[in-house]
Symmetry: C2
Subunit: 322 residues, 2 copies
């Protein structure tokens, strides 16, 4: 499953190329603010709403960059990935827009709502058991059979360059930001943020926010090498995956700090965001605000960009309703 695309660190030129390439296929998402949340935190918060992408997540940026960057010969064979979440959805969406095949390996235990969305966008699902060995074996079989180009959910340089366009928009939309904070799982969004800001705004602080119960990036950051957890349990289901070599490069070189929050703090921050910003967003997106509330001295008085990563939530089952 190793792909030569996985082993290259993307450059800022890749970001500029991605920005032009994906413009027709993504939304330039709005930035929202709330006097109430500013009062609560003492900071000036600017929420970049990637939940307003058509398929509901920032991952449409990296997925579109990969899909629309393929030459026609590669494109005819389509793309392939393994994911139980937003990357599967967004890759299917991007492939659908280009009219090429998309094969996705998903654990049979993945939520039906997410499988339905993959199918709605034209993706073909092959189910595997919910284990790493089954996923890798099944994916190898699917890729061999279809010849689809492997687009890794976050370690792929095309994906990182695509995600990097989010903060490129943000600093164009909001002047004078002093810090940006985003959730961290595998590190695709944070890596893209580092890539853009280290080039366009080198003084800006970059914070990653992580659930305490899936704090492998935090521990990696403190230890100075990648620590991967086996099966972390957290409500922030988008943040369970470990760092890989390309994302570790950015995290270890450019991130200011990694902050963590408990499950209860995440749910509280999620509910107050829904209430005062009036947006539907996933638990993962609430981790940054939870850490801002928890670390007021770090953010007080600063203009802070907060990246809201996605909004694909099961509306029948909200964590604050028992």
């Amino acid at each position: 499953m190793k792909d030569m695309n996985e082993t290259r660190i993307p450059t800022f030129d890749d970001v500029l190329a991605a920005h032009e390439r994906i413009k027709p296929h993504i939304n330039r998402t709005p930035v929202l603010k709330s006097e109430y949340l500013n009062g609560l935190t003492g900071a000036d918060l600017y929420f970049k709403c990637e939940n307003f992408q058509e398929p509901g997540a920032f991952k449409v940026r990296g997925a579109s960059n990969a899909v629309f960057g393929l030459d026609d010969e590669q494109a005819a064979k389509g793309v392939a990935t393994h994911s139980s979440g937003n990357h599967a959805l967004c890759l299917s969406y991007a492939a659908g827009r280009r009219g090429i095949p998309c094969n996705v390996v998903m654990p049979r235990t993945a939520p039906e709502a997410k499988k339905d969305a993959v199918r709605r966008y034209g993706g073909v699902i092959t189910e595997c058991e919910p284990s790493t060995s089954s996923r890798e074996a099944t994916f190898a079989e699917v890729q061999a059979r279809t010849g689809g180009e492997f687009v890794h959910p976050y370690n792929d340089p095309r994906v990182i360059a695509g995600q990097a366009t989010c903060s490129l928009e943000l600093i164009d939309q909001i002047d004078g930001l002093e810090a940006v904070i985003a959730p961290i799982g595998g590190g695709g969004m944070i890596s893209g943020t580092c890539l853009t800001l280290s080039n366009k705004a080198p003084g800006m602080e970059i914070y990653a926010a992580e659930p305490e119960q899936a704090d492998d990036a935090y521990r990696s950051f403190k230890a100075g090498h990648i620590i991967a957890d086996d099966a972390p349990v957290t409500i922030a289901d988008g943040l369970k995956v470990p760092l890989k070599e390309n994302t570790w490069h950015f995290v270890s070189n450019y991130v200011t700090d990694i902050l963590t929050a408990s499950e209860e703090e995440i749910i509280d921050a999620m509910k107050i965001t829904w209430k005062y910003l009036r947006i539907v967003m996933e638990p993962s997106c609430a981790v940054p605000l939870a850490t801002i509330i928890k670390n007021p001295d770090t953010f007080r008085g600063k203009r802070v960009g907060v990246i809201v990563t996605g909004g694909n939530v099961d509306l029948d089952k909200l964590p604050w309703i028992k």
Copy 2:
């Protein structure tokens, strides 16, 4: 309680003045779209998200226009109104920004969450019994005691001119709209929409959307005179009030048609908007989409502006979760 401000039809010059006056105090709200909802309806829908106003509703436009239009002598005595909902909240918010008193008469049965928000913004609540006679007697006492300027929730020309700035923004943000649709209760938003569009885009169709179970505007429109219901019961709690003379002027002269939807259709439209547009909005705001889904021939192929009026929802009690 009659106020001379109530008896004047506002003009488009009033709208332009309101636009300048309230600019520093409101958000120019973003317009969102969804390929999924467009596919579902066959129309090109542009959602103007007034739920993203700081106090959560378009009513901050009219309230700010009234509050910031007062001369200093009037302003010193503050403003007063009766409302159990978003007008109370938004008038308190606007008065708080100007630093003047705001007295609100609210039924003792109004939701605690809304009372809390009024107080957070600095409004002073006097409770009444949930009846028209108690409300009017209590309000007369409060107004006599405080001398506060009465700002009617929707019949006040300053309020209508303020609400009219919403569609002024919308037609600046989206080119080539062929129709606009908004919910109708007392008719403040629809009247403002009529006022702006009849001046700036006279060919554009204007639809009002109303719950079947509170269809007094629909019946008034068909009958040619105001019909007021006593106590309609609908989940769209913002839409229970009747038309008055100023809003009837606009509705009877400029509205293309009034469309209605059942409670079930409203709840369904609310849930799919939360799911696919990923915004938190009130049941009232779902009535337009519900009527668009129900009347596909009226909207198919058209570019339609949909005004999302507010987002103050009790997140612990969503209508699709039993």
